[in-house]
Amino acid sequence: MRFLLYTTGDNTQPSAPPTPQMIEEVGKFTDETRRAGILLATGGLGPSTTRVRNTGGKLAVTDGPFTETKELIGGFALIEVKSREEAIEWAKRFRKIVGDGDSLIQEVFGG
């Protein structure tokens, strides 16, 4: 089963940049998931969001909100595991490292 784990962060508030220690721990964690054979792809998410919305055929594009920060404020991991519970366990381990905030888990189905 594949799951997308992602964290978008809160781009309306300035957040403290991650400490070098946290960056190192996240790196170690990523390496651990790779060695566990579950990590298919991963990447960081930038701070700005562009929304494209269709309302009754009318397309609207909204940018922002933008913040001054150039930091990554989120990230995603595509993982392949045995069950949703296993995905949850990995997400908990990640969340313990990065602290307060939300990580979301959604199953990914083949096209």
């Binding site: 089963m1 790779r34 060695r35 566990a36 054979g37 579950i38 298919l40 792809a41 595509l78 392949e80 595991v81 045995k82 069950s83 519970e85 296993e86 949850i88 366990e89 990995w90 313990k96 083949g110 096209g111």
Partner: protein, 414 residues
Amino acid sequence: MTDPDAHRAIDAVWRIESPKLIAGLTRIVRDVGLAEDLAQDALVAALEQWPESGVPAKPGAWLMATAKHRAIDRLRRDERLERKHQEIGREMEVQEGQQDGDDLLRLMFISCHPILAPEARVALTLRLLASLTTEEIARAFLVPVSTIAQRIVRAKRTLTEARVPFDVPTGPELDARLSSVLQVIYLVFNEGYSATAGDDLLRVGLCEDALRLGRVLAGLAPKEPEVHGLVALMEIQASRSRARVGPSGEMVLLLDQDRGRWDQLLIRRGLASLERAEQLGGALGPYGLQAAIAACHARARTAAETDWARIVALYDALAEITPSAVIELNRAVAVAMAFGPAAGLELVDAIASEPSLRTYHFLPSVRGDLLAKLGRHDEARAEFERAASLTQNARERELLLDRAAASSREDTPS
């Protein structure tokens, strides 16, 4: 947390932690069977305590500490284990974490040990390294639970009695032992990919288990080209899983597949693994060559773009290092695609009387295909029917009978 929720959460922790746990315990007690018992004891303790206390901050360390306590309890009760007492005391001093990778690799070598029958290696590896339950293994292989349970018990006993050392082989032994590990992983993958019996063409779970084991092994033995070759082969094969099965569950052949449904992420991963295998130097081994063949298909955007001449050359190389009638048959298919059905049929006819192919349904199925392309429909129909009678897979039989019927229509003058 309600109990069922808690149990599912513990089950997830177990899947992640148990291979490392069993590997670490095997290093300490030097006995896979005893190590697994101790790990199970720790799991039972977790199931008793965690629903109340919550999952501890470091569940892996908790399980290991609990298992070690059980080990000491058992030693006190069981004098036969006395000789292990000192070893355990010494091994327990070893810093946690440092040994995880090495232990896991040793555990893979032990559970794929050539002293065990191939099906026992498969069952033990799925149990110890993929954390599958005996029931799950039995279901995947369509055999009774008791058969798998017995296979695992016997395998552990054999390893204990033979006092198989818990180490990573070196020198010339390494190649043979590694190839046994690769073979086990590939057997699991193939059982999932082209289920040899039953109605499901794919048992996706087994493919994922094999891929996971392969990816883990690639991390543990990163300098072994054949490990990357096998991973590349499995990633690329798995990329076609969805396209291989039609809307009503029927099998779709490679050249008829909708390539838009191929999983580009797995293809990219597979091509990257193949590149790693090539960069490690030397000629590609059997898995690397098969991956290179799979890559020729993966790179072609349409069936017509396939570089068949290169595939023929790769089969030539493969036939040279691992000569077999099956590879000859595959080579004949590639030759037919590159140089025409008549050239292919000539090669097929040359191996048609091979005893090893007597009940191999691909032989009549390939022969039927080439005869049909040459307009010899009556002969083609007979071959497809023969192939249908030989396959154990219901989906494949359907496809072959369809082709037989199509040949028979072609043959009827209108």
